[in-house]
Amino acid sequence: VTQPTATCPNCGAKIVFAWSSSVQTVCPYCKSVLVRTDVDLAKIGQVADLPPDISPIQLNTEGLYGKQSFVVIGRILYEYEQGAWNEWHFITNDGTSGWLSDAQEEYAVSFPASEEKLPPASQLHAGQQFSWNGDVYTLSVITSAHFRGVEGELPFKFWDKDNLTFADLRTQSRKFATLDYSDEQPALYLGELVDFEDLKLKNLRKFEGW
């Protein structure tokens, strides 16, 4: 498989895509936020350096989810009142795009789910229950967040958004769901809370003294 390549319209660096379906990437040299068009890349913004010292995961971290190996190719960093969390974008070896979230080293793997009828953000409240794919999900917390930074390849255009609403839903098993109100149409992600050990992560960041 040849990886699609392009040139950064800002600094001229060669951009290599790890995933052919990536919509957006960030130039690792000049931090321009680049979106793929039919022919080349268009710069839509510029990110500052991400704040350091947050997650042990980084671009190119590899891991295992079930029988699928995956590699991290991008990330979105969100901030909210109590801190920050990362949504790491990965692709599995069969080309599926998914998310590994790291909120204070609590890890969850999720994939976009197609669900027709999702409640509007205004109707959400803690304790609310939903049934998807035969599992009962209980809404545990609604978080207001804002975009803090992006890195690497993403499956959609995402840049500089404010006033984002997320709802976390839990089950009596490890299954969990996120309702994402970043776009006009709410999006549902279904996944599972995972143990760090089970992900068998490689190529992690090294922390001095640890």
Binding site: Y29, P52, I54, P56, Q58, Q82, Q104, A126, E208
Partner: protein, 441 residues
């Protein structure tokens, strides 16, 4: 040609940061590499925003809070469940029950890959806690459900109380404030505890397991010895619960073995009737007291060495018959002497019919080898008429169950003692709960 892309700028190296408290200038060490939300200055106890580059002051104290140094100093590392953790925060929390204030300590542990973990300590009892990944199942219709189900196990409600942060030090994964209130409900399934905390509307669950102080001490390589554990803690594993199950299991096993032995010996016992004879004790005016002794016919005992049952049956009424027996081996002259008495009295009084004694008696002579035997019998009785008829039966190899009964007692008594002590332990445990034994609930 070009020598390839220039190297990427190196990422900032995460490490414990050295900063100064904006209030008092004391050195502040950030140990959680940016994961903590707040940090409390160890010098002036100001609560600082750990997310802010300048450690913005979130809360200051007018008065110096009573110092309560953590038993495990901040910055101490130890290997817990295979992972290195560093103690980064410390909190004393208090509850008020019936006007009495109780407080416990919580230690916040951090590993940059595994995240946060908590140790709690109350009166020398420790718990190792993590946030639940699975939502426990509770009855949603009541505010304080009396049980919770977690991973297929039922936890019993122990206590619900309002906990207040009384003293804080170091880093916290949430924006801690002195005096912050949380409604804490504990459910127990020793050695585990399931804890629900409601703080400003947010519900969080954690699962903990009881830890002995000595294990905490060895985990963190602490000098000296841990504080003595006082009383019985809510999820302290009962030292009797294992014995309790074990002793009854052993009891059941041996009881089955006993029954099998009893049945086996009962089936195997031959119960051979080897001798039967009837006699009459003639009353004699002149020689009232004693009949002369006599010997029986010879009978044969066969098979392996085993017991012999000698049964005396008589028609005594309101008198007694005493028989001096000797079982004598004809060939060797070896003798077993024994005396047996049958007596029977009966009559009527204001309570109706009464009786005392028995007209029959039987005795087991153990370990009698095979051979030819006879009995020498010397009867005695009181000087009462009429004549006494009696018969003597000898049976070879009869089953004896008395020993099995003693064996049964020897088995069941320790089982009962352990059960009783176990119940005592549980009484102590629950006496500290919202549901004391003998209470209303």
């Amino acid at each position: 040609m070009s020598s390839g892309p220039p190297p990427l700028p190196p990422q900032a190296k995460p490490q414990a940061k050295a900063l100064n408290c904006p209030k008092c200038g004391a050195a502040i060490t950030l140990r959680a590499l940016g994961q903590a939300a707040s940090v409390v200055c160890e010098s002036c106890h100001s609560v600082l925003d750990a997310k802010d580059a300048n450690l913005k002051i979130l809360e200051t104290f007018d008065k110096i809070v009573a110092s309560d140094p953590p038993l495990i100093p901040l910055g101490t590392r130890g290997k817990l469940r295979g992972t290195d953790y560093e103690v980064i925060g410390f909190e004393r929390r208090g509850i008020k029950v019936d006007g009495v204030r109780y407080s416990w300590h919580e230690y916040i542990l951090f590993n940059p890959y595994k995240g946060f973990r908590y140790l709690s300590e109350y009166d020398g009892h420790w718990n190792d806690l993590v946030v639940c990944k699975e939502l426990p199942a509770v009855d949603p219709r009541v505010s304080i459900p009396l049980s919770a189900n977690y991973l297929g196990e039922t936890y019993r409600h122990f206590q619900t109380a309002n906990a207040q942060a009384e003293f804080i030090l170091g880093e916290f994964p949430w924006q801690v404030r002195l005096g912050e209130q949380a409604s804490v409900t504990d459910y127990v399934h020793p050695p585990r505890v399931l804890s629900r905390e409601i703080m400003s509307g947010d519900v969080s669950w954690s699962i903990g397991e009881y830890m002995h102080g000595s294990d905490v001490w060895s985990t963190f390589h602490l000098p000296g010895s841990p504080p003595e554990a006082v009383g019985v803690y809510e999820n302290q594993p009962s030292p009797f619960s294992e014995k309790f199950g074990g002793v009854w299991k052993i009891f059941a096993l041996f009881a089955v073995a006993l029954v099998l032995m009893v049945v086996g010996f009962d089936i195997a016992a031959k119960r051979d009737p080897v001798f039967h004879a009837s006699y009459q004790l003639l009353r004699n005016e002149s020689k009232a007291e004693v009949e002369t002794s006599f010997v029986t016919d010879i009978f044969e005992l066969t098979g392996r060495t085993s017991n012999v049952e000698v049964t005396t049956t008589s028609n005594v009424q309101d008198t007694w018959l005493y028989l001096n027996y000797a079982l004598i081996n004809q060939e060797t002259g070896q003798a077993w002497d024994f005396g047996r008495e049958v007596s029977y009295y009966s009559g009527y009084d204001s309570d109706g019919h009464w009786s005392e004694g028995s007209k029959n008696d039987s005795v087991i002579v153990p370990s009698v080898p095979a051979g030819k035997y006879y009995l020498r019998i010397e009867p005695e009785t009181a000087d009462v008429r009429p004549n006494i008829n009696y018969s003597v039966d000898v049976k070879r190899d009869v089953p004896v169950f008395k020993f099995y009964f003693f064996a049964f007692l020897a088995l069941i008594i320790p089982a009962i003692i352990v059960s009783w002590r176990s119940a005592g332990f549980e009484r102590s445990r629950w006496s500290e709960s919202d549901h004391p034994p003998g209470g209303d609930q």
